[in-house]
């Protein structure tokens, strides 16, 4: 009896515990609230992101004119891509844009930020000036640069002519057209990266520099051994973001050159655009989009992996 009493649980009469059914009901209600609050976002994502993605995937295996019912064609659209010589050209051109972007567009904001971080007076003015191109609508910026590049009366050839250089063909030659596109997009896009680098630089403890200076380290050594290692996560992040955006380059070749001269600026996205909106080959456009999406997914996976390892290191 004693044992029985001793092992008897606390009497429920004193602190009444809700019955299991009621607890479950409360839990379900809480979840329902969560789901209901989540639903608007789910509906929007579903309608405007996931459904188009799914539809794009389906269209890549179909032939359709978007009016009559689509017919399934298996891998025909992908096979057609292998037969189009422009696909290879577009991939090469896109890689060239990515490569030139890494060579020119990637170090430019880092260098600029390093220089700007040493400026004490009027730093705000420089930051505004550097960020200003980001605020200008891309189409306006490109039309402006189109005039800069004009071989006859353009700004660049006029200025270079003053010091006895040029005239250069810029967009008019297949040798220099892609470089011209990269120069504009670097100018237009580097403002954001400069500000991120500047913010990251202010986070580097000043003692590190002071200690290095005391040890007699030169400016290059301080950059190499302190600044760059400290900025590593930010550099990595911006590198991958740049890769993701440059692989999808479209606006520049579309407005500057429409892929010319001699197909030297036809990029993958411009080719997708041409398939869909010029040739009405929606299946082929979707197939190439799927392939591009796979490449972007791989890049994104690398990005996620790296950012995870950096955050844990």
């Amino acid at each position: 009896m004693t044992t029985a009493l001793a092992t008897r649980p606390e009497t429920p009469a004193a602190v009444p515990e809700p019955p299991v059914r009621r607890r479950r009901a409360a839990g379900v209600r809480r979840e329902l609230v969560g789901v209901l609050f989540l639903l608007p976002a789910l509906v929007i994502f579903g309608l405007f992101s996931w459904w188009p993605i799914l539809r794009g995937l389906l269209i890549s295996f179909q032939q359709t004119n978007l009016v009559d019912p689509a017919t399934w064609v298996g891998l025909e659209n992908f096979r057609a891509l292998t037969e189009d010589p422009l696909v290879g050209t577009a991939v090469q051109n896109t890689l060239l844009f990515v490569g030139l972007g890494l060579l020119i567009g990637f170090p430019a904001p880092l260098i600029l930020a390093a220089v700007m971080s040493t400026i004490r007076r009027g730093a705000g003015v420089y930051r505004v000036l550097v960020y200003l191109p980001v605020v200008i609508p891309p189409v306006v910026a490109i039309l402006l640069w189109k005039w800069f590049y004009d071989p006859g009366s353009g700004l660049f050839n006029t200025l270079l002519g003053q010091i006895g250089l040029g005239p250069y063909p810029w967009l008019q030659s297949s040798d220099t057209a892609m470089l011209s596109l990269v120069l504009e997009s670097t100018w237009a896009g580097m403002g954001g990266a400069v500000l991120i680098y500047l913010a990251a630089m202010t986070g580097i403890p000043a003692e590190l520099y002071e200690a290095a200076e005391t040890d007699g380290a030169s400016m290059w050594k301080r950059i190499w051994h302190i600044m760059l290692p400290q900025l590593r996560p930010v550099i990595g992040l911006l590198l991958l973001l740049q890769l993701l955006s440059t692989v999808q380059v479209f606006t520049e070749p579309y407005i500057f050159t429409q892929g010319g001269p001699d197909n030297s600026t036809v990029t993958v996205l411009l080719l997708i655009f041409r398939y869909a909106f010029q040739d009405g080959e929606y299946g082929q456009a979707a197939a190439l989009s799927v392939l591009l999406a796979i490449v972007l997914a791989v890049l994104s996976a690398i990005y996620l992996r790296l950012t995870r390892s950096w955050s844990t290191s």
């Binding site: 209901l36 929007i44 006859g152 008019q172 001269p261 001699d262």
Partner: protein, 460 residues
């Protein structure tokens, strides 16, 4: 309990509101009809900058609705836009009548994105009097007609009369052969420092203009072999057209410095007095005056397409078509509207005169830009006579085009995959204009192989 139900109510309310908003935004415009009235959404409404034409459009709509009480017209300023066409077609929000340049119908017909309007069109009393050459380019192989043209044109050579005079050339005697064009271009470049002749090269206009050059030298872009079309441009006429361009660009240096241009770029520069000559239709007069502000319209001159071994030119026009998604009932109403608004003034001298008079009330309007006859030449003569008192363009400057074009054969666009062929040929034209050592034979051989692949795929 009260605390737990409130968030549910709030969330449900939000969701309901969102769902309603989303539904209202996503519901296709079905037929947009109000009551017994059929609402017809039509492209072709002039922009507010062209006030004279807009006023006339509004008057036409009012008159049409009076004559057809069951139909209500809703005009939009939209024109053919490849960026939005497919999406609007798929979402069934495309207008019931679309306006596109003549380069588009073959692709739209082949993809079955527009519908035949032969039935309702045939019920018009004067259907048999249409110029068959004009309707041919708007028909499929079975003979079904898919559209009606607004002011059919033939490509010619547009020239700046003032630059001609400045260069010591006679603007009343424009060039008639490509050799004469070359000589004139050289003279303009040397004497005035402006571009003597400019050839378009991007957005498929390079291939399109190379087609004009080829036709005028007796060539063709595609030919039928064993029931299928193959590329036929890798031959002397196209080679000659490209060699001519190469010489003008690199030996004569008479083509200015911008070589990556489309029609808008060219007309804009022409209106600014920077270009001596380019290939275009009389419709470019309107473009130069209304869109790009050509100040002195008397400087605009146009002659028929110069010839060197051929006797042909490329046809051009804006056309009206009915998308495949439109109901039969609306398609019939659409044809009624098209006949009333665009076809009758090109057939009936009295209607043409009334419209011209209305338009001429505004000095900003361009009245009387010559077109090719949509019906017979005799019918066009009657129209010209009736509208003569209201013409405000310098008709004498269009005379070389009218006289010369009458002697030429009108050629349509290449029959299969014209736009894709032009895309491939753009590259050839761009190479010739931007690379001094471009190998024309090699470029054409590669383009021929590429085009044949495209044509084979299209005709499977």
């Amino acid at each position: 309990m009260a605390l737990s139900t409130r968030p549910i109510a709030v969330a449900a309310g939000l969701l309901a509101g969102l769902a309603l908003t989303a539904c209202s935004g996503l519901t296709p415009s079905t037929n947009g009809d109000s009551g017994d009235q059929l609402v017809l959404r039509v492209q072709g409404k002039p922009s507010p900058t062209d006030k004279a034409a807009l006023d006339q459009f509004d008057r036409l709509v009012a008159e049409f609705e009076k004559q057809n009480p069951g139909i209500k017209i809703e005009g939009t300023e939209n024109k053919w836009d490849p960026l939005t066409f497919a999406t609007k077609l798929a979402g069934k929000s495309i207008e019931d009548v679309i306006q596109a340049p003549l380069t588009e119908p073959p692709g739209l017909i082949a993809r079955k994105q527009v519908q035949p309007i032969t039935g309702p069109l045939k019920s018009w009393n004067h259907y048999q009097e249409f110029n068959p050459q004009v309707l041919k380019v708007l028909s499929d192989s079975a003979g079904d007609v898919y559209g009606v043209p607004l002011a059919p044109f033939a490509q010619g050579l547009v020239y700046n009369r003032k630059l001609f005079t400045q260069a010591g050339l006679n603007p009343d005697k424009p060039p008639t052969t490509w050799d004469e064009v070359r000589a004139a271009a050289k003279q303009i470049a040397e004497k005035t420092g402006k571009a003597g002749f400019v050839h378009e090269s991007k957005g498929n206009t390079g291939g399109w203009q190379l087609t004009m050059g080829t036709y005028s030298r007796g060539g063709s872009m595609e030919s039928e072999q064993g029931g299928k079309y193959v590329a036929s441009f890798n031959s002397e006429p196209t080679k000659s057209a490209l060699t001519w361009l190469q010489t003008l660009r690199w030996s004569d240096n008479a083509m200015g410095q911008n070589h990556l241009v489309d029609q808008d770029d060219v007309v804009k520069q022409f209106a600014a007095g920077q270009i001596g000559m380019f290939m275009g239709t009389p419709g470019t007069y309107r473009l130069a005056k209304m869109k790009f502000g050509l100040k002195n319209t008397a400087d605009y001159g146009i002659t028929s397409l110069p010839q060197s071994g051929g006797s042909a030119t490329l046809a051009g026009a804006d056309v009206f078509m009915v998308p495949a998604s439109v109901s039969k009932e609306k398609a019939e109403a659409a044809v009624k509207w098209l006949l009333f608004a665009y076809i009758e003034p090109q057939f009936d001298p009295q209607v043409a005169a009334e419209r011209a008079k209305e338009l001429a009330a505004n000095p900003e309007a361009a009245v009387g830009v010559p077109t090719l006859p949509l019906f017979s030449a005799a019918q066009q003569e009657k129209i010209n006579a009736a509208t003569k008192p209201y013409v405000n363009v310098e008709l004498e400057n269009f005379k070389p085009w009218l006289d010369g074009t009458a002697k030429l054969q009108l050629q349509p666009e290449p029959p299969v995959a014209a736009q894709k062929v032009y895309t491939i040929l753009d590259t050839v034209v761009q190479s010739v204009l931007t690379k001094r050592d471009a190998d024309i034979a090699a470029l054409l051989a590669k383009a021929e192989a590429d085009v044949n692949k495209v044509l084979a795929a299209e005709q499977k």
